[in-house]
């Protein structure tokens, strides 16, 4: 029973991580990454490491997406500014 739970959590994390790598667009990557963060937190809980799970949750649920999306926005704005100047 515990083995099944471990297996489900591990498979989900492996799938989400592969999907995050396979995405091309950074914004879509950030979406998959935030799902991966929550799944990793569940995996750590299943493996009886709630401290690590909390760290992962705190960083992965909101902070990492915010940092990535702010960078994406800055780069898009720069591109738009250059196009406008031309």
């Amino acid at each position: 029973m515990t083995g099944v739970l471990n297996l489900v959590a591990l498979l989900l994390v492996a799938g989400a991580a592969t999907a995050a790598v396979a995405q091309r667009d950074p914004a879509r990557q950030a979406l998959v990454l935030s799902v991966l963060g929550v799944l990793l937190a569940v995996l750590f809980t299943v493996l009886q490491a709630p401290d690590v799970g909390l760290s992962q949750l705190a960083v992965g649920a909101a902070l990492t997406p915010l940092l990535i999306m702010l960078s994406v926005r800055k780069i898009r704005r720069r591109g738009r500014g250059r196009d406008g100047a031309r």
Partner: protein, 246 residues
């Protein structure tokens, strides 16, 4: 030293490392077994010092020196970001336009900001009792503040976020960690040794000697570091434009 000799040296060193690692792996206790040599010792040490959460005891007592290193890594990383993302000479600031966010979203943000702050402080304060600690709680408390940007606009966030204060507090809390470690030296034991304070009653807020204090220092450091980091990212994404403006 010729290229050939260097390669040989590398090969010999690599082979030695591989042999040592393989020998160590052969001596490891079996996976998923009942014997946990390190775990048993860590739990015994943390119980002897009345710290309910063994992970907190490892982080802030048995390996407090490692945590000092991690703390300085975060500090240096944020410092690097501040330097890299500063306003360059060929850039200018533009006031962000005020945003009209849907009313339920704004109300939700205003309601959750204090709730998330209190939850973050709870996670920091109970680091030595339940899962959590300075890092986790600090990140939550810092994220709480940025709900004001998400639920309203950047100017609202800027009004409740005195950036200079956060930068000062960031440096001061790193200093506080160091001073707590040096206090151990002055009390005639060792750097960061947990012999300074009474261990207190097991499973209460004051248990664990210096663990709660170091934990709080890390919590404040992480919270202000994240605020400073996000402030620089937000400045770049929202305010700073290319060109000298006019």
């Amino acid at each position: 030293m010729s290229r050939r000799l260097r390669l040989w040296l590398l090969a010999v060193g690599g082979a030695g490392l591989a042999a040592l690692l393989a020998a160590a792996c052969l001596d490891l206790p079996g996976f998923g077994g009942r014997a946990h040599p390190y775990g048993t010792r860590a739990v015994r040490a943390s119980l002897a010092r009345h710290t309910a959460n063994t992970v907190a005891s490892v982080n802030f007592d048995q390996r407090a020196y490692d945590t000092l290193g991690e703390m300085s890594i975060l500090f240096a990383a944020v410092l690097g970001c501040v330097v890299l993302l500063r306003q360059a000479r060929d850039e200018h600031r533009e006031r962000p336009r005020p945003a009209e966010v849907a009313r339920p979203v704004r109300r939700y943000a205003l309601l959750v900001v204090p709730v998330a702050l209190v939850c973050g402080l709870y996670v920091i304060a109970h680091g030595q009792l339940s899962p959590g600690g300075g890092f986790q709680g600090g990140v939550v408390a810092a994220t709480a503040l940025h709900l004001l940007y998400l639920g309203a606009d950047y100017r609202a966030l800027e009004r409740v976020r005195p950036l200079g204060t956060f930068e000062t507090v960031d440096a001061l809390s790193v200093c506080a960690y160091l001073v707590l470690g040096l206090a151990g030296v002055l009390a005639a034991t060792a750097f960061l040794a947990n012999t300074l304070l009474p261990y207190g009653t097991f499973d209460t807020l004051s248990s664990g000697g210096t663990v709660p204090l170091l934990n709080a220092a890390v919590g404040i450091e992480v919270a202000s570091a994240v605020v400073v980091l996000l402030a620089n990212f937000l400045d770049q994404a929202v305010e700073i434009e290319e060109g000298n403006g006019g």
